[in-house]
């Protein structure tokens, strides 16, 4: 069984974790073009190499970030998201557009 070192709970079985996709910059949904949004939600490099991605430790509901090699499946590093995200990300909706 593969083990992931959870920054909060220590080494745990991989079956306790849920993959959350690559960490990527979200374009501003109110101002970006459809093309930019499609690029963000669908397209990816999908390459062989080290990628930075979200993982969830499901039993404790804790999201963290891992660096993993997509060829060897080696998990090089796991860390708390506060290392990368030091301020709150707002998901505001353009209310004018939403009510139309």
């Amino acid at each position: 069984m593969k083990i992931i070192n959870c920054p909060l709970n220590g080494p745990r079985n991989i079956s306790e974790f849920v993959h959350g996709g690559e960490v990527r910059q979200m374009p501003d949904p109110n101002n970006c073009s459809d093309q930019q949004w499609a690029e963000y939600v669908f397209y990816s490099d999908n390459t062989i190499g080290v990628i930075t991605e979200w993982w969830l430790h499901a039993p404790s509901g804790y999201w963290f970030i891992a660096q993993r090699h997509t060829g060897s499946d080696e998990i090089l590093k796991t860390y708390d998201p506060s290392e990368q995200f030091n301020q709150r990300v707002e998901f505001t909706i353009n209310t004018k557009e939403a009510t139309v």
Binding site: M1, H19, V41, S44
Partner: protein, 415 residues
């Protein structure tokens, strides 16, 4: 008897070389009309139809390994067309029709065996979905219907009707469901294509795609540079990596899919049985082995390694369906790479680069589309990029205009 065998083996007429189905490897030419990257079922089928229907024989199929050695040999050889969307059903129905005639067409037995495919519903929601699929299938001429538990028992007497405390409530019975020998499909196409003049180059890896002014003009390989009129990429499991050589991204994420096979037993299971709720499908091969497959792995990876977790979960569910299998031994286990799109439909057609055509995003539904995809990709290339009506909905561009073809509910095992 042994002496005559020895004599036969040492005889100059030993038929191996002279009557080989595939010609011996030749030198790469410096230029071809069409270069196809990937010598699997799809690539070689496209070459076959280019030569057969469009008279285009100056074609090179470049394969980094050997013919049909990638995902063509790793799928679980299921042929069916009971999908959910009208676009999908129309497309896969054409494929089933072509599969039925392939052995005759090739004069080579692909061991096509029509057994019917049974998908199990364990919830009311699944029954509603099945009803819709049955109606769509019938509308497009398929033979699919909703059947009740009594009919299921008659079709598959050994099935546990209450697997994992999830009673079987109904089934989607798809009479067109079939299986065939996947290697033989690639071999049959290769024989037909090479006898018409197509060149198949194995151990020839494309290392770069040459793009000039937004137009593909050739490829670099480990055996030198080739210039060409158009390029088709047909590399399941490596679509994003090859597309990156041509300079664009694809809406694809690559996951491994693991499958396994048991020791052979007496024939007891005629239909192909699948349970999306249990993430499991089972079929018995002509040799008596049971083949199991499930969903793709839970996270992306370019590796065909196997994991204990998947074996445990997949086999636990398989044993729930057929409890007597608990004592059987596994013989082999393997994995393939599935290029998953977010709508569970393939990508066929044009790319952002001119003269560069896509046959990609084949996730877990590639083998069953081999003949029709080859035929339509050939038509696309022969007509200089005019996309055939049947594959128009599957353009990569659908992701930019948010017009996905959602087949998520219709994959054999939900992912």
């Amino acid at each position: 008897m042994p002496f005559s065998l020895l004599k036969y083996g040492l005889n100059n007429d030993y038929p191996f070389e002279k009557n080989a189905d595939l010609p011996l490897p030749s030198q790469l030419k410096s230029s071809y009309d069409v270069v196809i990257i990937g010598g699997g079922g799809h690539g070689i089928a496209t070459a076959y139809y280019l030569a057969k229907y469009h008279g285009i024989t100056n074609v090179a199929v470049l394969e980094k390994g050997y013919l049909g050695g990638g995902n063509t040999a790793r799928n679980t050889a299921v042929i069916r067309s009971n999908y959910l969307t009208s676009e999908g059903v129309k497309f896969y129905s054409e494929s089933v029709k072509l599969f039925k005639e392939l052995s005759n067409e090739f004069d080579f037995n692909i061991m096509y065996s029509q057994r019917g495919q049974l998908t199990l519903a364990h919830t009311d929601a699944a029954i509603r979905g099945f009803r819709q699929r049955a109606e769509i299938n019938k509308h497009f001429g398929g033979k699919t219907e909703l059947i009740d538990p009594q009919q299921i028992k008659e079709l598959v007497p050994m099935l546990n009707m209450n697997p994992a405390d999830m009673p079987v409530l109904a089934g989607l019975w798809h009479m067109d469901g079939a299986t065939a020998r996947h290697d033989a499909v690639a071999w049959g196409y290769a024989k037909g294509a090479t006898s018409r003049g197509v060149e198949l180059h194995q151990l020839t890896e494309v290392t770069d795609v040459i793009v000039e002014n937004g137009k593909a003009t050739g490829v670099n390989t480990n055996r030198g540079k080739i210039s060409c009129g158009s390029v088709i990429q047909a590399v399941s499991g490596h679509s994003s990596l090859v597309a990156a050589m041509a300079g664009f991204k694809m809406p694809i994420t690559t996951y491994p899919l693991q499958a396994m096979v048991t020791q052979p037993v007496k024939p007891f299971l005629n239909p192909l049985v699948s349970s999306p709720a249990l993430h499991c499908y089972v079929q018995q091969t002509g040799r008596g082995e049971l083949v199991f497959g499930g969903g793709s792995d839970p996270y992306p990876l370019y590796s065909t390694r196997s994991t204990m977790d998947l074996k445990e979960s997949l086999l636990a569910h398989a044993v729930e369906l057929f409890p007597f299998m608990a004592n059987m031994r596994l013989m082999r286990q393997w994995a393939g790479l599935t290029d998953m799109t977010s709508d569970y439909s393939p990508i066929m057609g044009l790319s952002p680069v001119d003269n560069y055509y896509l046959d990609a995003g084949w996730g877990t539904w590639g083998f069953k589309a081999t003949p029709i995809c080859g035929q339509k990709m050939a038509e696309l290339v022969a007509n200089g990029g005019k996309v055939p009506e049947l594959i128009k909905p599957f353009a990569m561009d659908r992701f930019n205009s948010f017009r996905q073809v959602n087949e998520m509910g219709a994959t054999a095992a939900s992912h």
